[in-house]
Symmetry: C2
Subunit: 93 residues, 2 copies
DNA sequence: TCTGTATTTCGTCAAATGCAGAAATAAACA
DNA sequence: TGTTTATTTCTGCATTTGACGAAATACAGA
């Protein structure tokens, strides 16, 4: 959970999620959308992947990233309930 | 929105929100719950306040903090829809 | 106004973060 | 195996962050 929030705290990473919401994209396609070095984007992918927010899959020479939508929803819903109910946030829906 | 995510990315700040979920507390009461200097906690309060997640109110000699629950819910719900639908996240519920 | 209590602001420091370019790795294919 | 393409890992640097203690501010009451 900690990692998820840290991942979401960066605007570039949230924009990556937004792009992946529309369709799966390769690392290179994503990198083209930002005025940043590919190595920098690769680092952002890594953070998002460790947080479970995206998944990667190798397809021929490229690596395709896709949004792990259910993980995103679960996480945010979990936080919502954590802030609404009276428990300690260990158990979810 | 950016500020909200940055505010939520720190574990101490999320714990502050959890404590305030139970009841309003003064800055001193909150500070007692953490092994940190009061000045450090004051900084966290400031971040949470600027993000709109908590509100403060002076009561006699103390400053009472309370959770801005509706803001929290709105924010997280907004993010949820931003990740689910195909728009740009400017319009919400 | 002076004192005591509660909280924030300031100055400083160590650690973490985001970035770039260079080198390394992985896969497809001649 | 050697080459090309796609991506990641490594190294170094500048900025930001979270932490502390000391000083400053705000308010209530003698």
């Amino acid at each position: 959970m900690n990692e998820v929030f840290r991942a979401l705290s960066d605007p570039t990473r949230r924009e990556i999620l937004r792009l992946l919401r529309a369709r799966d994209m390769t690392a290179g396609e994503l990198a083209e959308r930002f005025p940043l070095a590919k190595s920098t984007l690769s680092g952002h992918f890594s953070v998002l992947r460790h947080a479970g927010l995206i998944v990667q899959e190798r397809r021929r020479t490229s690596i395709v990233y896709s949004l792990n939508l259910s993980a995103v929803e679960e996480t945010i819903a979990g936080v919502l309930s954590l802030l609404k109910t009276g428990r300690d946030g260990k158990e979810g829906s």
